[in-house]
Amino acid sequence: MEKVTTVCPYCGAGCKMKLVVDNGRIIRAEAAAGATNQSELCLKGYYGWDFLNDTKLLTPRLREPMIRREKGGPFETVSWDEAIKYVAKRFAEIKAKHGARAIMTTGSSRGTGNETNYVMQKFTRAVLGSNNVDCCARVCHGPSVAGLRETLGNGAMSVSIEDLEQAKCLLIFGYNSADSHPIVARRIVKAKQNGAKIIVCDPRRIEAARIADQHLQLNNGCNVVMVNAFIYTLLEENLYNKDYVAKYTEGFDSLWNVVKDYAPEKVEAITGVSAQEVRQAMRTYASSPSSVICWGMGVTQFGQGTETVKSLSTLALLSGNLGRHGAGVAPVRGQNNVQGGCDMGVLPDLFPGYQKVTDAAVRAKFAKAWGIDPESMDKEVGVRITDVPHLALEGKVKAYYIMGEDPLQTEADLSLVRKGIDALDLLVVQDIFMTKTAEAADVILPATSWGEHGGVFTCADRGFQRFEKAIEPKYNVKRDWDIISLIATEMGYPMHYDNNQQIWDELRELCPLYYGVTYEKMGEFGHIQWPCPTLDHPGTPLLYTDNKFATPSGKGQLFATHWRKPAELTDEEFPLVLCTVREVGHYSCRSMTGNCAALKTLADEPGLVNINPEDALALGIKDQQLVWVASRRGKVISRANVSDRINRGAVYMTYQWWIGACNELTQDNLDPTSKTPETKYCAANVSAIEDQTWAENYAAQVYSEMKARLRHAVEDARPAAVTA
């Protein structure tokens, strides 16, 4: 029996854990003493590893490379050699005919790790020849990266996860830690026990609201109004730190001109929060010796996500709450390696280490390291994943190489995404499971999973941590970066790596921000936070300690803007706001957690639509009954969870359900800067189903049909010689 130290593959909390392996099989997970988790895990950490056994509880593992020769035809299993040659040839043809920018690739924010993401963006930039590489950060904290880079300079948490419990005040805005990051929620609970004041801004009565000193239960879709009222209060009541503002910030003079229209008293009707509550919240926030603002998708997944992030960072700048322990900004990243995806430059505008693709000197540096002509490199910002469906329909993107992501489950307005995917000439999916996206692929490249390989992840607080291989893969699968290297080589760019560390050392040399983060320094339990510029640098738990910001002028940029209403408003036919949220036991598209026995036992299809008791009563819906939820784009079956934690007039669904898929209903209004979809707000209706027996049978039947279909897609695939 051996114990392998690794990092949990789920949320961005970065929990260190040990997999106990006996005879090549994992038998349990144990908590380990990581910097962020301090020997605690949540249920996903403890009980979320048995997907590695290919349980087929939801969908089977991908076992062999497969090609679908014609749209709608069956998959044919092929050798790796044939799969690689086929993909390379098709990419080369499409590039020759339609240009480099007709091919799009994705990194993966999940179990594959930083090394793969580096290799994928290198492949895209050096071999395919464009900046068309992106990742699902686009649909979650994209606005945090874009917004904070403008106002403070770094698109990440300025504090450590550990700092949250040292804060004297936590302002928690649109962030449900208990469901998204239980191990971060633990810090919030500890902060409260330590006497911190907790202020929660959320339309729902989330767990943190329960223990909060103040819960500002604002209406859905008016974040900018609320933050403007906060800024108004800071200015009007002279609560801001004049010395700090004068020394370290710019843009103060333009603030009042915007926020003067947002007096707390004046906007009560929009926010639904009393002026007194707003003013009290700001008095607490500004007078506390140290305050942290935490936010999540409740801020970013709106059409004004980036602007809201910039305004929230303005609160921190106005009150001087940056650069000290327990004081800062904390956009808590969702997926285990979504920070890493951004760090590694699987972004269309940035090379690894946040170096701009539009900077000729940076391009020259990477071109030299990669042995290519800098003039051959794409000088423009590439395509973002949320633009792909539109560009595919316009015929501008012809091929899509998706690695470890499931856009046919996780992106907004799935009927649009399906149309876009259908319009492609070539869809290559590299994954571990037969996801909905894999099912639509022309080529499937099966990869090793977390647990079957090692590498480096970056957790939500910029901490690089190593994770290790615990078991041997069972099937004919390859490491993600090995697959990419083989395609690159076949396309005439020899690429070969012996191991993860070789890749890591190549990228360290190219990224001053991470140069000092060596494998040795990370070791078994090291948590090295960037920036870490030199070999003897310990890493940076706190950003901006000298109040110098990574902006062109070195000063923090103050920002306020006017509110715009969400894109799709409720009406008579669709009177409810639909907001998509998380729940604790499942993760992302659910391909991993849905295949775990315990997690599936706790929550399974068709998933829940959370609704207020009064709304449910008016609709004749009883708790746990199946209902239809519809929007202008579709209709899905779901189970009503009647709860008085939910505000009236809004319903909440999680995006992980494959039958009760709320992204069939969401809409694709994008934040203009980050191109993040407004999945927190669309118009919907909920209707009762008279015959519950029929409904239960229907939901069970479509679920089992879907599972059978996905299983057959893998199990029925044969080599061409056999099927012919």
Binding site: L43, V189, R205, V584, A597, A598, L602
Partner: protein, 181 residues
């Protein structure tokens, strides 16, 4: 005095890690991968209301109503808690009705029984399910071990005495001025 497991609602985040740990700890094979909706019978339950999230389980009452009403004397005090002797349980559910905390549940599970005529048949066996403080688990209660916010603890006579003493002190010292007449 019996010990019992208590959840602090100020710390509980409603994640249900305790429920899974309980179900796994009470499986003979201890195998989390064998859990399913049919055999998932935790003895601790997370309850969420508008303002409360907490975990509920048996209080190990000193004068336990479940034990008092059991017609087959299957429930008694042993090992410092209220124990169900499963071999005596007939699944009558009287204890479920009697328990004021909803901490007792009768669950059924399939067993293979030999009919005596060399025929094995699948029968349902009932058992009264309640917290047993994981008394036969060397590491102690599984729920306490996994709770990520340390919301669960096992309270014994001394802890209770301390809890009361703390409250007395707080009452006296916080409100002491009001008592000076």
């Amino acid at each position: 005095m019996n010990s019992f497991i208590l959840a602090d609602a100020n710390k509980c985040i409603g994640c249900r890690t305790c429920e899974v740990a309980c179900a796994v700890a009470h499986r003979a094979d201890g195998d989390v991968t064998a859990l399913s909706a049919i055999n998932f019978t935790p003895r601790i339950h997370v309850v969420k209301g508008a303002t409360i999230s907490t975990a509920t389980q048996c209080r190990q009452c000193e004068d336990a109503p479940c034990a008092n009403v059991c017609p087959n004397n299957a429930i008694r005090r042993a090992h410092g808690f209220v124990q169900v002797q499963q071999e005596r349980c007939i699944g009558c559910k009287t204890c479920v009705v009697a328990c004021p905390y909803g901490a007792m549940e009768v669950v059924t599970y399939p067993v293979v029984r030999n009919t005596g005529a060399a025929v094995n048949v699948l029968r349902e066996r009932a058992q009264a399910n309640k917290c047993d403080l994981c008394y036969d688990r060397p590491e102690g209660p599984a729920c306490i071990e996994v709770c990520p916010t340390a919301a669960l603890r096992c309270v014994d006579r001394d802890d209770l005495a301390m809890l009361s003493a703390d409250k007395r002190r707080r009452t006296a010292l916080d409100n002491g001025a009001g008592f000076c007449v």
